[in-house]
Symmetry: C2
C-alpha cells in the first residue's frame, strides 16, 4: 500500500483506483472508548501540521470531525517503516488519504473539547487515495483568513469543507427529517406537484420554460390554441393552485411537501431565484369562532395553527434544546401596527408606540381624523440604561418622524410645538394646551419620536415602527442585551389582516389602481365580514390570513381559502376586477370549487429562512448547498449562459 502511495507522489497515476480497505470509523466518531483499537480512517489532510524529528502531528478531517494523527519517527521505530511514514510529510494538504492506526487516549492536559478531542491515532500506514493540487484557490480550513465570497462561491466544493457550512447542511437535513416526521404523524401525505406549470397572463416574476417545437405542435393540436408560435410552461412561485386542487379532490385531505419555488426577481438582498418552502394544506379547517371565547385567534384555521406549533416546538426542542411555550402568542394586524408599527413585530423587547389621539386638542384631533390619520410617539427615558439613551441620541431619525429631546422648558409643550401638530393648525391657531406629558410622564432628558400614520393602519410598517427597529439594531450592535434582549425566540402569530389593499406597491403594477389582495386572491374573508364583502365595503373586510413571525422576521404565512365558487368569482370579478383573460387562468380552480370543494386552508413556511435562523447566519446562502448570488448568477456552474441560435430554433424562439 505504501509503495503505491509513494509512487503516486512522484507520478500521478491511475493505480490508486485499485481496491482499498473500507474505513472503519469516522474521524469525528472516535473517543476514549476506542482506546487501543486498530482503526481505518479516510479523510482530508489539514495544513495544521506539527512536524518534529521524533513526533509529528497531522490533523485528518472528514465530514464528522477531525482526528489528530501522530507519526513517530524516533530511534525506537523501525527505519523502513519510518521512511515510509515520512512520505506523508510530502502529501499536499487537502489530499484524501486512508490511514491505519491505533487509537490512543491523550494525556489529560492535551484533551480538547468536541469530537475526537480525547484521543489521537498513532499512524501505522497510509494510502494516498487522491492527491490535491498544491495550488488550491484557498484553504477552507483557514478560518482566520476566510477567502472572499466570490472566490468561495466559485469553488463551492472547497468552501463546503468548512465545518461551519457542512454543519449547516447537516442541520438542514435533520430539520427536514423532523418536519416530515411530525407531518407524517399527523396524517399528512407528501404529494409532489408539477414544476412545469402554466404561465399566467401577466407573467410577473415567473420563469418561463419554452418547449421544443415537436412537443409544441402536439400541444397545440391538443388544446386548439389559435395562436401560432412557441409554447411555454412556467415554473411555480408556489404550489398554491395544485395544493388547493388536491383539497378540492378530497382524495388527499392533508397534504405537505418541501416544495421548490421559483421567483424571477433580482436586486432583493438575500433572495434566491429558487427557494424551498414547507408547504401544507388541510381540508375541513375551521372557519373561526367556535373554539374558545378567550382565544385571541378569532379567525379559522386552528388546525393549521395547531400542527405548525407542534412542528416548530419539535424542531426547537431537537435542534436548539429550547422548550417553546405550548401556545404561541397571537396578535391582530391592527394591534401589531398600533403597538409596534409593524405587521411582523419583533416582540423580544418592549419599546412600544403610544397613540397620542387621546391627548390632542380637539381642533388638531378633528383635522387628523378628517385626513384618516392619527399621531403617535415612541419614547426613550433618561432613566433607562445610559448607553441606551446614548444610542437613542446617536440613532438617525426616520424621514417621516420628528425627534424631540425633552427639556425643562418644553416638557409641557413639546407636542403642541412639534412640526407635525403645527402643520395641522391654521396660521393663527392658538396654543390651547395639551396633556401629552401627563400621558407619558416625560422628564427632561427623555427622547421622543413623533409621527403620523394612517388610521386604520395600512401596509407593513409605520415610521415609528421603522424607528423602533433602527434604534433596536443600533442598541443590539452596541451589545445592550438588557434593553434589547435577543437570545430568546419570540414566536408570534399575526392575524386579521385587511383582505384587500391599495397600499402594496409591489402589486400595483398589476392592480393598476384597482384593489389587490393583501396576500392572494384565494384567501377567505373572516365570516363576520362576509356581509361587508358583498355590500362592497371592501376596506372593512378582514382576511382569514395568518403570518408566523419570529423575532421580527416573517417565517411563514397562510390562510383559510375560499371554497365557495360564487364567492371566489365575486372576488375575482367585483373586487379585483380581473378582465376575462385574467380570470380565465383560474377557470379550473373555479370549476373545482363547484365540485363540492371542502373548506380548506394551509400555510407555507420559508425553509431557507428558518434554517438560516437555526444556523445563526444572516445569509440564506449559508444554508443552501449550491446557492446563487442575489443577481441570480451561479459562478460555480456558470449559469445563466448564452445558448446557440441553432438550439433556440428547436424551441421556436430566437434572441431579440
Amino acid at each position: 500500500m505504501l509503495a503505491l502511495a509513494r509512487r503516486l507522489l512522484h507520478a500521478r497515476s491511475y493505480a490508486h483506483s485499485a481496491p482499498y480497505p473500507r474505513p472503519s470509523h469516522h474521524c469525528g466518531a472516535l473517543d476514549a472508548r476506542h482506546d487501543g483499537a486498530r482503526v481505518v480512517l479516510a479523510g482530508w489532510l489539514l495544513p495544521h501540521r506539527k512536524v518534529s524529528k521524533a513526533l509529528s502531528f497531522f490533523p485528518l478531517r472528514d465530514s464528522h470531525g477531525t482526528t489528530q494523527l501522530v507519526v513517530q519517527l524516533g530511534a525506537d521505530v523501525d527505519p523502513k517503516a519510518a521512511h515510509e511514514l515520512a512520505a506523508l510529510f510530502d502529501v499536499p494538504v487537502e489530499s484524501t488519504v486512508l490511514v491505519e492506526g491505533e487509537v490512543r487516549l491523550r494525556p489529560q492536559n492535551q484533551r480538547r473539547p468536541g469530537p475526537a478531542g480525547d484521543i489521537e491515532v498513532q499512524l501505522k500506514s497510509f494510502t494516498l487515495l487522491n492527491p490535491a493540487d498544491r495550488n488550491l484557490p484557498f484553504l477552507p480550513s483557514d478560518t482566520q483568513n476566510t477567502a472572499n465570497e466570490d472566490l468561495r462561491t466559485q469553488y463551492r466544493y472547497l468552501d463546503l469543507r468548512r465545518s461551519q457550512l457542512s454543519a449547516n447542511l447537516r442541520k438542514r437535513s435533520k430539520v427536514a427529517h423532523i418536519v416530515r416526521g411530525v407531518l407524517n404523524e399527523h396524517d399528512f401525505l407528501e404529494v409532489e406537484t408539477p414544476i412545469l406549470l402554466k404561465s399566467t397572463p401577466e407573467g410577473a416574476r415567473e420563469f418561463l420554460v419554452p418547449t421544443r417545437t415537436s412537443a409544441s405542435a402536439s400541444a397545440r393540436l391538443a388544446s386548439d390554441h389559435d395562436k401560432p408560435g412557441p409554447l411555454f410552461y412556467a415554473l411555480p412561485q408556489s404550489p398554491q393552485q395544485p395544493k388547493q386542487l388536491l383539497m378540492c379532490s378530497g382524495g388527499v385531505d392533508r397534504y405537505y411537501q418541501l416544495a421548490r419555488c421559483f421567483r424571477d426577481e433580482d436586486g432583493r438582498k438575500d433572495r434566491q431565484p429558487e427557494f424551498t418552502q414547507i408547504d401544507l394544506e388541510m381540508a375541513f379547517v375551521s372557519w373561526g369562532g367556535a373554539v374558545d371565547g378567550e382565544d385571541p385567534w378569532r379567525i379559522g384555521g386552528h388546525e393549521v395553527r395547531d400542527v405548525v406549533e407542534v412542528l416548530i416546538r419539535r424542531v426547537w426542542s431537537a435542534v436548539e434544546n429550547v422548550a417553546l411555550p405550548d401556545r404561541f402568542r397571537v396578535m391582530t394586524y391592527n394591534e401589531a401596527m398600533r403597538r409596534f408599527g409593524s405587521d411582523k413585530p419583533d416582540t423580544r423587547f418592549a419599546l412600544e408606540i403610544v397613540d397620542l389621539g387621546s391627548v390632542l386638542p380637539p381642533y388638531e384631533l378633528t383635522a387628523l381624523r378628517n385626513s384618516g390619520e392619527t399621531i403617535e410617539c415612541l419614547a426613550v427615558r433618561r432613566s433607562q440604561d445610559p448607553e441606551f439613551v446614548d444610542a437613542a441620541l446617536a440613532c438617525p431619525t426616520e424621514s417621516d418622524a420628528e425627534r424631540i429631546e425633552i427639556t425643562s422648558s418644553n416638557a409641557s409643550s413639546w407636542l403642541l410645538n412639534s412640526h407635525l401638530l403645527r402643520a395641522l393648525r391654521p396660521e393663527d391657531g392658538s396654543d390651547r394646551g395639551a396633556s401629552a406629558v401627563d400621558l407619558l410622564s416625560l422628564q427632561p432628558g427623555d427622547i421622543v419620536w413623533v409621527a403620523k400614520r394612517r388610521d386604520p393602519p395600512q401596509g407593513g410598517s409605520t415610521a415609528l415602527g421603522r424607528q423602533r427597529l433602527r434604534l433596536a439594531d443600533l442598541a443590539e450592535s452596541r451589545g445592550m442585551s438588557r434593553e434589547i434582549p435577543t437570545s430568546d425566540p419570540h414566536f408570534l402569530w399575526v392575524t386579521e389582516f385587511p383582505l384587500f389593499t391599495h397600499a402594496d406597491h409591489d402589486k400595483d403594477f398589476l392592480a393598476k389602481g384597482r384593489w389587490s389582495s393583501s396576500h392572494h386572491p384565494f384567501t377567505a374573508p373572516a365570516w363576520q365580514d362576509i356581509e361587508a364583502l358583498y355590500a362592497g365595503r371592501f376596506s372593512e373586510v378582514r382576511g382569514q390570513h395568518y403570518d408566523l413571525v419570529l423575532n421580527g422576521m416573517e417565517i411563514g404565512g397562510g390562510s383559510v381559502r375560499v371554497h365557495d365558487a360564487a364567492m371566489q368569482d365575486f372576488i375575482f370579478s367585483q373586487v379585483l376586477q380581473l378582465n376575462d383573460r385574467e380570470k380565465s387562468s383560474f377557470n379550473h380552480l373555479l370549476h373545482a370549487l363547484k365540485c363540492g370543494a371542502p373548506p380548506h386552508g394551509g400555510i407555507a413556511l420559508g425553509f431557507d429562512r428558518l434554517m438560516s435562523i437555526l444556523c445563526k447566519t444572516t445569509s440564506i446562502r449559508d444554508v443552501i448547498a449550491f446557492p446563487k448570488t442575489s443577481a441570480g448568477t451561479d459562478s460555480l456552474f456558470k449559469s445563466p449562459s448564452p445558448v446557440d441560435a441553432g438550439v433556440l430554433e428547436q424551441y421556436g424562439i430566437q434572441a431579440k
Copy 2:
C-alpha cells in the same frame, strides 16, 4: 344548522362559510369499537343511495373510506326532524356535507369487508358545506363506466376522488417516508441541489429557462460573456454533477434526495417531462475485489448495493408484506445477454437462450467468429404445457430470428438447413452434419427460434431476447402462470457493462461516430481494466456500473465514479474525443477532482416506475398527482401555452 342547509339548496349563499363543528372521525376509521358513539363526519355524498319510505341509505366518502349513513323517516320519528333530514335527498351527489349521527353495529349478515364495513351511522342532523354542480363532467364513483382518460385528466381533481388513485397517492407518500427513514438511519443527509442549472453545449433533451434582461445584464457583467443576447438556465436531467461536487467537497459524505428531474423528449410512451428519482451518493465506496471471493458482485460500490437492498427490502416488507431475500441476485451484463438476451432480464421464468457455437461445423463457426458474431437458439418443448406450445406457435417471430418447427424429418438437420447457417456457407458448401440436436435433445413437435447476435454482446437486447419476452407476454396474457410465473418480485443486479459503446442510437447524434459512454462519462472503469483503458483497448473496458432490475424492468442504475482528474480528462479527451467547448462545461468537475476528491459512487432509482409497480398499474400517470400526457401537455392547467410578445421581450427573446 339545518335551516341553513335548506336555504342553501335553494339559493347558493355565502352563509355556509360560517363556523361549523370539527369532524370527530374519518369515515373510513369507524369500526365496531365505536358502536353507540356520537360522531361528526365530513365527506362527499356518493350516488349509490337507497331511498325508501322508512329507511334510506346514503354512502358518505372521505379520503379514508366510505361510511353508510342511515336516515330513518318512519312513523316513530319526530315529524319536524324527519322533514329536516329529508332535505338530504335533494343534495346533489359529490356535495360536501357535515353530518352528526350515532354509530351502530350492522347486523352480522350486512357487514362488508374493508374500512367502516361493520358499522353504519344513524343520521341525526346534517349541514351542507358545499353543494356540487348537478352536472359534473363525470362521476368518479362510477367504477363500472370509467370516463375516458382525456376527460379524467382535464378534471383531475374529480378523478382523484377515485379510491384507487387516492390509495396510490397514499402509498407513494408512505414509500417516500420509508425511503427517507432508511437513508436517515444510514447517516445520509438530504441535500437539495439546484433546479436552475447550466445548459450544456449540445442542449440535448434539456429544458431551457430564459432569464429577464436585468438579471442577464448583471450575469453578463459577472461572467464576462463575450456574446450579447439572452441568457438561460437549464433544468437538470439529474443532479449528477451537483451530487458529485458534494462528494468532492467532503462536507457531506452520504447524500440523498428525492430529486425532480426533467427531460424534454416526447413520443416515448409513459414518459413524463418531469419525473422523480431517489438519488443518492456515497463517498469512500469500495473499488471492488476485496470483499468476498465468492461474491458475484466483482466491481466496486458494495456500500451502495447494501443500502439499496436494505431500502427495497424495507419497502417490500411494509407495503407488500413480502420478505425479500437477504441478498439480491447479481449477474454480469455478458451473462444476462447470453442467457436472456437482455440487459434487464426478466428472471421470473426460465426460457433460457442456448449458444450453438459449440455444435457448429468448423467452417460456419469460423465464418461467424470472423464477423464477430455467434448463433443461438430458444426452444419450447412439446412436453411443456400444451397451451404454452400453442402460444409459441401463435407468437409472431422477431424480424431477425427464424422459427423452426421440429419434425421427424428435420430433427437432425434443422440447424444446418436454417437460413442463417446457409447464408454463412459458400454456394457449394456441403452438409457436414452437426450435433445441435444432441445439445438440445429436441423432439418432433418442439419449436425453436434461432438467431445471430454480436459476440461479445452489444446494446440492450438481442433478437432472441425480444422473442423470449414476446412469447412470455403472450403466455401471460393467456394466463399461463405455471410456465410464466409473474407473482414474485425478482430483483436482480446487472453489472460489468461495457464502459463505452458504439451501439446506442440515442446517443449517436451527439457522438457522431465517436465512442460514447454506455451510461455517463463519469462512470469509473473496473480497476482490472484500467490498463486496457490507457492502452486504448476501449471495447474491453468494463464499467463499475450497476443496474437494478425488477421483473424485467430497470428500476435504477448507478456506478462508482471516476475520482481521478487525469483519468476523467483522458476519458473526455482521448476516448470520447470531446472538443474544447464540450469539455469546458465539465471544467468545474475536473477541478473539483483535483482538490482531493474521495472515491465515490451512487445510484438513482426511478421513483415513479417503482410506485407504479407497487401500485400494480401499468401507467406512471396513475401514481402522479398531476401528470402530463406523453406529449407533455397538461389539460388541467392548460400548459404549455403561448406567451405574449411583450412578456417574451423582457427575456430578450421572440418567437422565430
